[in-house]
Symmetry: D3
Subunit: 211 residues, 6 copies
């Protein structure tokens, strides 16, 4: 029963494993190439508690824009500690009249928590059935992976919500931005959406698209 | 070295495992509840080669419709042998002028193989970048999971393609159908897509939506 | 270009798939056996928006107990819509002096969001390194899967936080409850924790354990 | 600080979750249909420690057979506690001259531990490279998922080994049994293996195949 | 409602994420080390549509060889866009009399689509049951992961098929090549396959094996 | 039927794939950054059979320490061939009176095989139910992922066991070491475990903790 031995036998195991990287976590190192499973890991010895913590969602983002709303993500690219852990979060600010337009997260399901105001939210299934609910402070709603969904301010005051995701990098594809905020040729937009030329041109103008 | 013993020892192992269901495969039984991992399995003793084979994609589907195109799936619901195996397929028929409108597969990536005609296809990334290519017979193109994409006939003759998926039930959400072919209230469609009321009403009329 | 045909061809696909269950989601049916992947799915036709929504986290739970704290989960067993989606959430209420004692979630990583008060939180890695941070309203912190962690009220007022998980059923193992709140024989507790008999007996008394 | 409250608040959580099945484990219930993720779960209240324990690998199996060897599995079908946990084990007994013939495990990697005697083992990669080693008591060797491999007694005394697998149902396909111990038509065996008719007939006779 | 603001708020999110790599896809970079999840990703800014497209399967491969057949893969190593997406494809050309000999894919299930001619295909389960079918143009057949299977030309004319896989790198292990086309010692081949020395020597000669 | 052609057509496929790394396996290269899926892969051309084999578990480890026991791991950091394969192993040596104290493996389930002596082992579920069994030579017991468990020598002679894991890097968190063998402030240990100051100080002294 020698205290020194435990340090020479058990600790050897634990310490050795630690040196070789224990895969308890894989804090993202954005400077080296990533893999299909996420970003490469920082050396464990360089990891600090601040890799797992963020105050970036403390304050309301600027909502003086066309949608009167803003999304502030804490995905693996912003919060490196979530890399590889299958979880992340984003803050939603919706001024009165604000809306997070129809969008999908290609790589994750979303769980929304309203912390201020009133939000009307909904998603549409592959069977084209619509699921809509008006949510007040403390309410939660889940949006299954990859399905179109939206959130809009349904009260007269600013609303705030936090969206958790089942992926460290869930992605975000806003339908209008995908269609109109790039050089996607108008004729192809029209053929693949049934929208008429005037509508496509108007939205491309609003979202600074070309083509 | 007795032939009979091998049947009593090795065969016992193999046969016993087989009785208890070996999980080589899990042919879908559509009559019992499914799990998050897919349909429940038919008893192995009821499985035949026909659970793994289909001729349902042999012939062109009827394309006399508004999109001049048709999709014939062989997902787990149609081809029970793919259940749980992470693979499925669908046939695309595109008459001249035909289009598979902008859509996503919430649960799988797609690999398209053109077998007849000329098809222009494309997808849009989360960064709103557009990737478009004109494909001829024998060409292949991959569409990453959950991203908006489309296919349209770019030749003057009927085109045929086969789309493989990285899921036995990849899902299919056609954007226009999700927005206009149901009772999704027009005012919400307008607020979440920036489309004007006239456009929403017109498309709802075309796709028999209400609200 | 006949509106009726689209309903006979494209809609056939979508509707048919819907009948056979599209696996967009798998709302938990708690009345039938579950699988390693989670609960069995309710028939899609019985699913409503209320399967995806909950108001159960709206109000503070009673914290008049030994830990001056409470955990209110919205896991798959409470919020059936998250089943199979790899996400869930719980509300933490910590009265002044309250603590969520040292615990693990065997099946998921946790992302904590403080919405009221001040919380000191921390986790310990396999290499026995401690990561501690004091969090205020709006701060987030991630706790990697399976590692020991804790939260305690570090302000003089009630604190509230919401913990998201990378699993619909992350589990919760509170170390003290695992050791002292059951019939685990005291002699085995002592041998496997190095705690002395008096300590084990005292904690078993507090937590109503036997043995 | 009332002992009774902790039982009414914290215990409520834990107990409630337990009733709804906590997914700590999913002990196989072989009597109901399985899913792609494994067998359905026994109700947690029916689970006992004996679901997780087995003495079935204690003794040498009968090796008086053509291969002078035997495999005794403790897969999910035999040891229900491993269901869904991604682990299982089997005992290998090899009399002098015994061999586990060339085989694959379609659904898992194998880690072999020799506990008695001397075993020569090897596997072949997709690049057709052969990796062979002679193992003595205490040696371990890993065989990557799905690759052809074998073990044979390389000493003059009985050998014993335990093979762990990265799946609760790794499967076992012995090449000779797959080719010759069934009604697979000889002409097809010949065409697909380049073996001549005499060889196929001889092996079919040995392994009681027909066709 | 200032157009400039949307570019400063929403676009900031999307653009920033894009710079940090959005994990919509992970186009393979073959020049850096790979991980268990696949190849490392090319920087997103270097990705073009041609990473997702290939014409390499357009034409029949040379089948003037011993099997009168050829396999042309478009796996992640050949089609970098499929890396990490769980899907890939290969073209099979079978001249009259041609055969794809008995083989497995250690890491993926296969879905075969016949596009020309007549092919007899089959697989064998772990329970040694044989599932065989003759397939004509347009027919599909699925081969579960890791199981032995084969395809042979069953018509008098050249046959073509396309095999999709549930992995970007499914692997390919042809049994005869694994046994005879390398330096695997003949005595070990004999002991582990029950083949006699003459047969082993003959096949080693045909496939240029040694030992 | 030209032997040379097969080398020019079929071999081309196999060899080419091999050069580009076939992902049959991913032998760990500890010198480059790891990803969430494990260590990066050694170039396949540098891989030898010794990457898959180890004799490091052949002999009893030194158990002259406070727990009269030792754990010798063969995880991915020690046995690079298991990297990415979801399997690993460790040897347990327990002198008379020895104990592997209460611990968890955050990232894997464990399957214990006793090869010498008598071991009493147990685990505790999230529902705080205790599952204990006394195991003799040849007995096996499974410990579900992330749950607290222990093993102790229950005979008068040295005991040996081998623990297999469902992960190449399952991790190991010994509760006492996590709480007392570091600089975790005593006041926080006390608040989060209900242990009194004297107990915490005593155990910190034993395990060389500070704070």
């Amino acid at each position: 029963m020698n205290m020194f031995h435990i340090l020479l036998t058990i600790f050897v195991l634990v310490t050795y494993s630690a040196h070789a990287a224990v895969q308890d976590f894989c804090v993202a190192d954005l400077k080296v190439p990533e893999s299909p499973a996420g970003y490469s890991c920082k050396p464990p010895t360089n990891v600090t508690v601040d890799d797992f913590v963020s105050s970036s969602l403390n304050f309301a983002a600027n909502t003086s824009n066309i949608i009167n709303a803003a999304v502030t993500p804490a995905f693996a690219a912003q919060l490196p500690g979530v890399n590889g852990l299958g979880i992340s979060i984003a803050r939603l600010d919706l001024a009165p009249g604000g809306v997070i337009p129809m969008h999908t997260h290609p790589a994750g399901s979303e769980l929304l928590l309203v912390t201020q105001g009133v939000i009307k939210a909904g998603f549409i299934s592959s069977a084209n059935k619509v699921y809509i609910k008006t949510l007040k402070k403390g309410d939660i709603m889940v949006f299954p992976q990859g399905l179109l969904h939206f959130q809009l301010n349904a009260g007269g005051v600013p609303a705030v919500a936090f969206a958790s995701f089942s992926s460290a990098s869930p992605g975000l594809q806003i339908t209008d931005f995908a269609l109109f905020a790039n050089d996607f040729p108008s004729s192809l937009v029209e053929k693949t959406t049934f929208l008429d030329n005037a509508t496509v041109r108007k939205l491309k103008a609003v979202l600074r698209g070309t083509g």
